[in-house]
Amino acid sequence: MQQNGGNVLSADKKTFTVNSAANVAALQFMVDRVLKSNVMPTAKQFGGMGDWDMFKAGKLGMIVTGIWAFSDFAKNITDFEWDIAVEPGNTAKATHFFSNGIVVNKDTKVADAAFQWVRFACSSKEAAQIRIDASWELPPVTYPEVLAGYLKITPPAHRQVVFDTLSYLVTPPVIEQLTEMSDIIGAELTAAATGAKTPQQALDDAQKALEEKIKLS
């Protein structure tokens, strides 16, 4: 959506804008890649296989995923070379981003110890190195020598792209019913991708269902 100038919510976060013209155009573009040019597989062509497995098997040319895929791909893809790039976008670049948070219970009896542990997990050099070594997520603090080691690892050859994408971050809306909202939109996107509904119908129905079921405070 945001790569085409659209969004899920209005700027004041008080109304849904799922069926905006920009979003419909973005979905039409994506659906056409599946149903018209078929450069993206249909659900039948996936045949129940996950997109990771299809990519590793050499049956998908491109995949949208995250840095947590690196270690699996590096280990299991041996018969072709692969690399990463920032998603091109249409009117703007936009890269999906999420982060993990650590919280301390307000009623804890060991608040100091909990804080010490949180500080270690979030900001120490040792924890940053553990995160880098696990190749699952990036630490929230910058230790140049730790990150330098990360950038040297190949594949992917252009690992610097991981940091380039940070210039185009978009985050999901922070609402209490996020999972339900995602399922409502996801179901309608599937309906469009299978041809059961036009993109306009699917997003109109999503908009209606979201307005009925999701509270925006």
Binding site: T42, A43, K44, F46, G47, G48, M49, Q177, T179, E180, D183, G186, A187, T190, A191, T194, A196
Partner: protein, 307 residues
């Protein structure tokens, strides 16, 4: 039994019953009663409640009356899910009755290595749904799966099964029949072996052929067992869940395999609408109760308890 001896017998039995009664109270009766109250609230399942002290204040605090029930019944999702469940029942119940009758007749035929057949038919029953559903997910894979490969041998181009909204539910039904036929076949086998063979011999002397014996003697005498299976399969069908969750992630293309329990699970543990999910669960109970009551009323017309 006199009232006094009954009371003495009850007192003697009580200590032996207590472990089961405690489990039933803790894991069935209390949750059922709590769910009645939760169905009238918008509790999210996350805020702390204490059954002994803070439960009723929480109920009062989060009370929404019949709002959940109104929303569920007014949402087309409920009727679509009920339709999906009805579609499953229409396909599954007759199929499982036929399949388990065939299994029972094979197991009752007295052929060689019958013990081995009994084990083979019962293995799916012992297999966990997770393992079974993953196997069937592969079996029904459009290009790589065994089912479409077998169909192609006789010139049939199989559908995309779990990725096709028309064929997703029949795919779930196939897996369910594979899983349940051995269990119900074994129950029917018990029924078949309880039929006195002299009925069949007498009919043979009177000139009845095999089909006449089957439809005039065997099946009428099996009706109590068939009735039991019909009641159980209908209840199980309304509770359709694990195969849907595993075989069709997010309940199939365009929600084609969404079921009542799948919705209850998602509302309770994914969307954290525990009050709404409790209302959904109680509606499911009322639906099952309604259909089971009809079955119980109708049994007089076709179930034969005389033999």
């Amino acid at each position: 039994m006199t009232s006094r001896s009954y009371q003495r017998g009850f007192r003697m039995a009580l200590p032996f019953l207590l472990p089961s009664l405690a489990g039933m109270l803790l894991f069935s009766v209390i949750p059922i009663v709590v769910a009645i109250f939760l169905g009238f609230t918008e509790w999210n399942g996350l805020s702390k409640i204490n059954l002994t002290s803070g439960f009723f204040p929480m109920i009062v605090d989060q009370w929404v009356g019949l709002k959940n029930y109104g929303q569920i019944l007014g949402d087309k999702e409920f009727w679509r899910v009920l339709g999906n469940t009805g579609y499953y029942i229409v396909l599954y119940v007759p199929s499982i009755l036929i399949a388990s009758t065939i299994v029972a007749m094979i197991l009752n035929s007295g052929r060689k290595m019958i013990g081995l057949y009994r084990i083979l038919y019962y293995i799916p029953v012992l297999t966990s749904w997770v393992a079974g559903a993953l196997i069937w997910k592969w079996v029904l894979s459009p290009d790589l799966g065994a089912m479409n490969n077998i169909l192609s041998l006789i010139g049939i181009h199989g559908p995309a099964w779990l990725q096709d909204k028309t064929w997703a539910m029949p795919g779930i039904v196939l897996a369910s029949i594979w899983k349940d036929a051995g269990f119900f076949g074994l129950i029917l086998l018990g029924g078949l072996q309880g039929i006195d063979p002299t009925y069949s011999e007498a009919a043979g002397i009177d000139g009845a052929n095999r089909l006449q014996k089957l439809f005039r003697i065997t099946i009428p005498l099996l009706t109590p067992v068939l009735f039991f299976i019909l009641v159980i399969t209908l209840i199980n069908s309304f509770q359709l869940f694990p195969q849907v969750m595993i075989m069709t992630t997010d309940a199939g293309p365009n929600g084609a395999t969404q079921s009542m329990v799948e919705r209850i699970y998602k509302y309770a543990f994914k969307y954290f609408k525990m009050g709404y999910a409790s209302s959904f669960a109680w509606l499911l109970f009322l639906i099952i109760f309604f259909f089971t009551s009809i079955q119980m009323k109708m049994q007089d017309k076709w179930v034969n308890y005389d033999a």
